[in-house]
Symmetry: C2
Subunit: 557 residues, 2 copies
């Protein structure tokens, strides 16, 4: 809270500094945001190289111990004060009005702010970047110049943040994805719609097949459902009413409206309903790698982690009430095992309980929430409660996985749903021959393949573990006369994903390329290796680790 | 041609017979169709059981040696002749008019017809079914009653046809799909949009993985592309202009129009264009199991073989002109090998040449057509030429596979495309460092997974070969005390897809169910088997083949 106030006040100080340096500037707005603040300006023509100058001016202002003075004003006064500031005038029409004066700079603002600039540590903030931003976020309006800054209470915190940022930048999956030739995003195809190239598809295939084998052995049945379906399904499910802003406009086919599917649930329910289900069949567990399409504003799209089309590792579990606790426990246990296989061992687990508006009875919520708690306790998992954070249709557990630099990423979710079984009137026949309503659990482990691969890339800085590497081994023949032997080595290693790099280029250039592409093992073969039936090995991250017989190398990996 | 005339004349005789039996009937139209004919009637309330009576009346008419008399008439005369026949009156407005008289029945018709009914073999036709059909095929019009018939020159041909029909009915993949629990089609989801259940998804997975491994070893790179993309891509490709009636209406996203993808080509081209390609990289072969959506009229939808969404085993090969012949030869050779693996050994191969309207130069067509011929000749494949049957953008080879009862099914296609490389301006750098245009080949082997699985089911009458069977083995314990042993056997056979059927039901009932589901091996285990570490085997199609040690059974299969 205190930090928010500091950040907000820094936005004003930024505006004050810009006003001193560029007096003809027009002011937009300047709020506190996560980790910092920004201010939008019109008639400001600057570049990144001007930021240090502005930062310096801000520090001067801070050191002057300038007061933040609040005053209530009338609309009429506002019109006078801001007569040369069109954006402020526009805001004067709609807001209950107060102003803050900071030195020469007056802003229309509700506050709160620090009392004096001396409360701000001049060494604990930094202007980070310039960006274009439409006035009021509407692309019909003028594009303003936005200056971003980050701010903390201490210099130490700032330095730590900047270091993590630097780390994060090295790990940016968008850049890594390009370097490793995994995917591309092409404006001609559409924003938020990645094209997966050959190596990216291999990576997807490895993950997909791993999930397929694992979940099959856990009794899941895999389904394949279409990407469109009648709108009425999502009206019945309630999604049309609750999530319409994320659903694309319907397509008319033969006078009926169809949706590009935003979620798979109705299809899985229709498969459940395709025959009569008995208590003996429960739990029924349906899984699908279902590609769904949801609208996101273009401004929030980000590489693979925020897209418009993504492949959920979706599952729906239909069980009897007395199976709920055990099902959740086994799902959670198994889910964590799978996350661990991918290299994620630290999590934040959140249990979200009944919100103010909810469906079903208090008793149902109590029982379901207890089942979730039971599962966590049984597995000795620490969790935080998110009170009233459940969705209207049931309580849930969310897992955020922590990557190698400690950033949390929302991935897994286990949601109990009291709504859909009612809405679709689904049932099973119990021991006594009576119709009963099953409990439905939605669960995703990785969340989506796209997002998860994005997280994997950032977690490993692109150096994926051997089993996930699209290309595991490069074989580089030193000269033309070693090509045949290179092919022989390839054959012997045929259990692995290999490329023989026999283009006419220098060995050192090929090694450099292999390192850029983060190939786990680069094998160089020349006269000596040919003679010894061996390979010279460069291991990723370790460099040259010497010569080794082929058999021994296979054993090693 | 002669048969068409007989069939058309039979339609008139059908109308004449119906007129005699139901004088108040109103006549629609009655053309010859594949294998037979139909006639549409209004104000005809009959059921299937009335067909023999009508058939009998038709035979009477045929035997009367009735003449088909043609006469040109004016519009005015037509109005008089058909004054009680509203549908004929409607047609009188638009057609150049002639009538045919057959006994008492007069039809507005251009002909041609037989001269006399004695030219028709009264024992070589059969009325087959009733159906509803909208007047002029438009659902806004009234639904008429359509009577279908089949007709040939000889009774022998008719009998052969009816027998194949009967065979085909047993093999109907829609019924088999339900019995084998592979898929369902649900009106609430949408016509032509199959939902693949657990076992169906296993079957898809087997086929997908087989293709994945095979094509990867052949140097294909697999891509994964979205199901929507900007409309402008298909405007550039020309699909929007040429195939619009099969493309669903665009979806608006952020003021831009997107299509549910009707074909994958533009995406593959965008991946090709994502970096500079050298002659050294060619041929570049991209494959994708891409699910596309195309509009088909609801009336023509049929199970899996005619759907609105299907997964093409699509590929695009970019090669240099001098690589074309070899590429085509290897694709064709390899394609036939894959079809053979699925059990298809007989084909009809069609080579389609330059149509009247075409793109590119005569020389290009010549060269490409010669390459296709070269490939066929090299592989000693017999093919038929379909003169001028090529698509405007290039010549092609189509393969129809023949199923076990001799029916041909269009599956594979190899199409050379001169259009897209130009439209998208794609290039590679040749030896001299100059930009060159590659040749593009579209190819699908199975056509689509949906259609191919439909054909597989009909070909094998549901009894899929072991490697394709979603469930390969059932283990049935005789009594409760054999359940543990059944589980042990399951473990020993863990390389196979197995279900242990230990529900409380009689062994004979379970065996019957297993036979309905066409399980390749049903293993029954009781006291004797438990003692001998053996299983009692029922092999599909053979019944009980005796007891066998587990090891020996594994060797056997």
């Amino acid at each position: 809270m205190k930090l928010d106030i500091i950040r907000h006040s820094l936005a004003h100080i930024l505006a004050a500094a810009v006003k001193e340096l560029y007096p003809r500037v027009k002011f937009g707005i300047g709020p506190a945001i996560e980790n910092g603040f920004y201010y939008d300006f019109d008639k400001l023509k600057i570049s990144d190289t001007d930021l240090p100058k502005i930062e310096k001016k801000m520090k001067e202002i801070i050191r002057k111990d300038i007061k933040f003075k609040k005053k209530k004003i009338s609309k009429k006064e506002a019109k006078k004060i801001f007569k040369t500031q069109p954006y402020k005038l526009e805001l004067s029409e709609t807001k209950s009005l107060s102003i803050y004066q900071t030195g020469d700079f007056i802003d229309l603002c509700k506050g709160p702010h620090v009392k004096s600039s001396k409360e701000i540590n001049p060494n604990a903030f930094k202007l980070t970047k310039l960006a274009g931003a439409y006035w009021k976020g509407d692309e019909k309006n003028k594009m303003l110049t936005r200056i971003y800054g980050v701010a903390f209470e201490t210099k130490k915190e700032l330095d730590k943040y900047l270091k993590i940022q630097q780390e994060a930048e090295k790990r940016d999956h968008r850049k890594l994805g390009q370097k490793l030739e995994l995917f591309s995003i092409n404006e001609e195809v559409g924003a938020g719609l990645p094209l997966w190239h050959g190596k990216g598809t291999i990576l997807r295939h490895i993950i997909e097949n791993y999930l397929y084998e694992e979940l099959t052995s856990q009794g899941y049945e895999w389904l394949t459902t279409p990407h469109i379906g009648k709108l009425s399904l999502w009206k019945t499910s309630g999604h049309w009413d609750f999530y319409r802003e994320n659903i694309y406009a319907p397509i008319k086919i033969d006078k009926e409206e169809y949706l590009l599917k935003p979620m798979n649930c109705p299809f899985h329910i229709k498969v459940y309903q395709s025959k009569i289900r008995s208590y003996k069949d429960l739990p029924i567990k349906f899984a699908e790698l279902g590609t769904v399409y949801r609208y996101e504003k273009s401004g929030v799209l980000h590489g693979l982690t925020r897209v418009r089309g993504f492949t959920q590792d979706d599952a729906h579990i239909f069980c009897a009430p007395d199976q709920l606790s055990n099902e959740l426990t086994s799902m959670l246990k198994y889910g964590l095992k799978i996350l661990k296989t991918f290299g994620f061992k630290d999590y934040e687990i959140y249990l979200s309980t009944r919100p103010k508006k909810f469906m079903g009875t208090l008793k149902m919520w109590q029982k379901a929430t207890n089942s979730l708690k039971y599962a966590c306790d049984k597995l000795k998992l620490k969790y935080q409660t998110d009170p009233e954070g459940g969705i209207f249709y049931g309580p849930k557990i969310d897992i955020k996985i922590k990557d190698s630099i400690g950033r949390p990423w929302q991935c897994s979710t286990f949601q109990i749903d009291f709504n859909l079984p009612k809405a679709f009137n689904i049932s099973y026949i119990d021991k006594k021959g009576k119709k009963k309503e099953p409990i439905l659990i939605h669960r995703a482990l990785l969340g989506s393949l796209e997002r998860f691969i994005g997280v994997l890339l950032e977690h490993y800085e692109g150096a994926l573990p051997l089993w996930l590497s699209p290309v595991q081994i490069w074989i580089i023949p030193v000269g033309a006369r070693h090509k045949k032997y290179a092919k022989e080595v390839e054959k012997e290693l045929n259990l692995f994903r290999i490329e023989v790099k026999d283009e006419n280029e220098t060995v050192s250039k090929k090694i450099r390329q292999g390192e850029i592409q983060k190939i786990p093992y680069i094998l160089v073969v020349g006269d000596k290796e040919m003679e010894n039936k061996s390979v010279r090995i460069r291991q990723r991250g370790k460099g040259d680790i010497g010569e080794m017989k082929i058999d021994k190398f296979i054993d090693k990996i």
